[in-house]
């Protein structure tokens, strides 16, 4: 993201916000409200993650009056959300109100972050209040049980950290976990003229720090898996409440390690509640994440096993071992072999792609083969055998690729 076009003070605010906000925040539609300097951007839309979705909030600065604090316009469906409104009858106290806008200082780059954080916290309590007001017995029950579960987890966490402290394990080492734990459950009430009333929960799953489990982990933000649970708000006459809609979601970078789409969710039985459902799911996921972490090593061994046959890889993904490229010679013909490993390796065989170092197409790009996914393979083979079989396959296939290259070369 470049901050070109923003006046220096806004760009300092933005830079600080993007670098320090615990989640990925995006800026869209930067524009200018000035008359004479349309290049001087002073308003933009912030995409702030909430409850597994994004809220679009417009932040309006005034480039002509840099000392004035910015204003915020919330989403069209949140017209009842008034974070800084002072309740009636407390006029005398309104001067004592203190928040991130009261003593705005445009020279302090941390201010926008403080404002966004405060507003998001207030939005969260606003949604919690709305959900709490829904007249639905099942929802009321779910909220009460789930909140107590959350409290229990928190309590357990504090007991453990306190214990670790007493036996002398550095507290700093563990403090990264509470950020994940404390995020807690987020809820959202969606209602509209055309949409049916629904309550959405984003339940963070598993009290484990996945970032810590991956050696040399490159992720800046903590990776997390969430269960999205959507309850249709019950009609009074429906005898049996319908099952909620469930969907697993995760932070985007986690996909390099673990494919959330491959997880088969346990079925939701009639009359079940979240507190019953979650432990099974968490157990299942925990096992699968642990397995996904061990699979990194399996992939690494495979990439290493190819090295004696094809030479050291030109390039390889060192953290997740999802991709490796080798330089291969077949007589005078040299080409590159790209090996793509899925998170399901070795169950799923690697995809291969050839890229010639000598042939180029009309656009000057090197000639490449389509992805090859069909060749002899068995997940039960030893790693060395897998490498051998691929090497064997290459002998024949490289000739085909060479022919393909020459043909396409002749055409031009």
């Amino acid at each position: 993201m470049s901050y070109d076009g923003f006046p220096p003070f806004i760009s300092a605010h933005l830079q600080y916000l993007l670098n320090h906000y615990p989640h990925t925040i995006q800026i869209e539609q930067a524009r200018s409200g000035t008359r004479y300097f349309p290049g001087s951007l002073d308003r933009f839309t912030l995409l702030i993650p909430y409850c597994l979705d994004y809220m679009k909030w417009d932040v309006i600065y005034n480039a002509e009056f840099p000392l004035a604090a910015p204003d915020v316009i919330f989403g069209a469906e949140d017209e009842d959300f008034h974070p800084f409104h002072v309740p009636c009858g407390e006029d005398g106290d309104s001067r004592l109100v203190k928040n991130s806008l009261t003593d705005w200082n445009n020279k302090d780059p941390t201010r926008l972050l403080a404002l966004v954080t405060e507003l998001r916290d207030k939005y969260r309590s606003y949604q919690e209040k709305r959900v709490g007001e829904v007249d639905d017995d099942r929802l009321k029950f779910e909220i009460s049980t789930i909140v107590s579960r959350e409290k229990r987890l928190l309590y357990r966490y504090f007991v453990v950290t306190a214990f670790l402290c007493t036996i002398g394990i550095s507290f700093l080492h563990v403090t990264e976990t509470p950020v994940i734990v404390l995020q807690g459950i987020e809820m959202h009430m969606s209602s509209g003229v055309e949409k049916p009333e629904e309550v959405k929960f984003a339940v963070p799953l598993m009290n484990m720090n996945i970032n810590k489990m991956v050696p040399a982990c490159p992720w800046i933000h903590p990776q997390k898996i969430y269960l999205q649970v959507i309850y249709p708000v019950g009609r009074k006459y429906a005898s049996v409440p319908s099952a909620p809609r469930l969907k697993l979601m995760c932070t985007p970078e986690l996909k390099a390690l673990f494919s959330i789409d491959d997880v088969k969710l346990p079925s939701w039985l009639d009359g079940m509640c979240m507190a019953e459902y979650l432990p099974h799911l968490e157990e299942l996921l925990q096992r699968q994440v642990l397995e996904a972490v061990t699979l990194i090593d399996v992939r690494r061994q495979f990439i290493e096993a190819l090295a004696p046959l094809l030479g050291r890889p030109l390039e390889a993904d060192p953290v997740f071992c999802r991709k490796a490229s080798y330089l291969v010679c077949s007589g005078p013909f040299t080409f590159m072999l790209h090996v793509f490993l899925s998170t399901n390796f070795p169950k799923q065989q690697p995809s291969l792609m050839f890229q010639s170092t000598q042939h180029f197409n009309s656009l000057g790009m090197p000639v490449k083969s389509p992805l090859i996914t069909e060749y002899p393979w068995s997940p039960r083979w030893e790693t060395s055998q897998m490498a051998d079989r691929i090497s064997d396959f290459l002998v024949d296939e490289s000739l085909n690729f060479k022919r393909h290259c020459n043909e396409s070369h002749l055409q031009h």
């Binding site: 539609q29 200018s32 840099p66 604090a69 316009i73 919330f74 069209a76 017209e79």
Partner: protein, 309 residues
């Protein structure tokens, strides 16, 4: 009129165009105060249909003038809390200026204009409206009217401004439910379609009441006193017409009315001449204001520049 709903909010064509002109020529986002009056429509329910009508919804708010301080946060702070002292100063100076008989220009509410932003009230706009509505109910002003009108002007977030340049919406802030109630805007123009609106028209600058007219034919006795009165009246007349003598007013009535058409036309011409000279003065002072504004802008940029490290 605690929290009665308006049927609609109307604004006169010239006021709206002046407001729009102010907004388009402003440097950045602007806001300001709205003045006007509230009229109670006599319901013409002499029809056969029996649909129950809301007796309260016969109120129409008419905006007739505005005041734009040209700087943001002029009468409220960054949280949207209204500063009653500043507000009072702005309101009283404006109402005093436009007319001493304040019946035609009550403080109705405020407007906000921001470029390239969504057309819905912002966080601060809500707070300002709420704070305004509370201010007046607490003080129970003589008119007992909440300044609850809010006009919002924006330009589209995306796209060229070739065809579609402005969007505007009117709201009434409802104290009890603490929300913006969208209202339709009627634009009053001159023409046969708007004849119905003329009934509630009252001029902003009526012709001054001159006592000397009756004293014209008085006996010459109290010479000095009379001279003084004539001088005073001349001064007042000079406010509306340029170079029209008080003595000539006599020609508009009484025995000398033979040439009254001529004299009346003369008076009108001189009144127009007054307007012309006023316009010239405004033009000159505008140039000065612009110079000062540019100077202020440079100073503002200077202040806002980050401190070199």
């Amino acid at each position: 009129m605690d929290d009665l709903p308006f049927q609609k909010i109307t604004i006169s064509g010239p006021t709206l165009s002046a407001l729009m002109h102010r907004i388009t020529t402003s440097l950045g986002d602007v806001d300001g105060l709205l003045f006007g009056h509230v009229t109670h429509l006599t319901p013409s329910t002499l029809t056969d249909d029996n649909t129950p009508q809301n007796p309260d919804s016969n109120l129409i708010a008419t905006i007739t003038s505005f005041f734009c301080p040209n700087i943001p946060l002029s009468f409220y702070d960054s949280l949207g809390r209204v500063d009653s002292v500043t507000l009072h100063r702005l309101v009283s100076s404006t109402t005093h200026q436009s007319n001493s008989s304040s019946s035609s220009s009550n403080f109705l509410g405020w407007f906000s204009a921001r470029r390239k932003s969504p057309i819905r009230p912002s966080m601060r706009e809500f707070c300002v409206s709420q704070s305004l509505s509370r201010l007046k109910t607490a003080a129970k002003g003589e008119k007992d009217l909440n300044p609850c009108v809010f006009l919002l002007f924006t330009t589209p977030v995306q796209g060229e401004l070739l065809y579609h340049t402005h969007e505007y919406r009117a709201y009434q802030f409802r104290v009890n439910s603490r929300c913006f109630d969208p209202k339709s805007i009627g634009i009053d123009n001159i023409g046969p379609d708007f004849r119905g609106n003329y009934g509630c028209f009252s001029p902003n600058s009526p012709f001054p009441e001159l006592k000397c007219a009756s004293a014209m034919n008085d006996e010459v006795g109290e010479g000095l006193n009379r001279m003084e009165r004539v001088l005073n009246d001349q001064k007042e007349l000079d406010m509306v017409a340029e170079g029209f003598s008080v003595k000539d007013l006599g020609k508009l009535m009484g025995s000398e009315t033979v040439n009254s058409t001529m004299s009346l036309e003369d008076l009108y011409e001189k009144m127009l001449g007054k307007l012309d000279s006023l316009a010239r003065q405004v033009e000159k002072s505008n140039a000065k204001v612009l110079d000062m504004e540019n100077h202020n802008r440079k100073l503002r940029y200077k202040i806002a520049r980050p401190v070199p490290e």
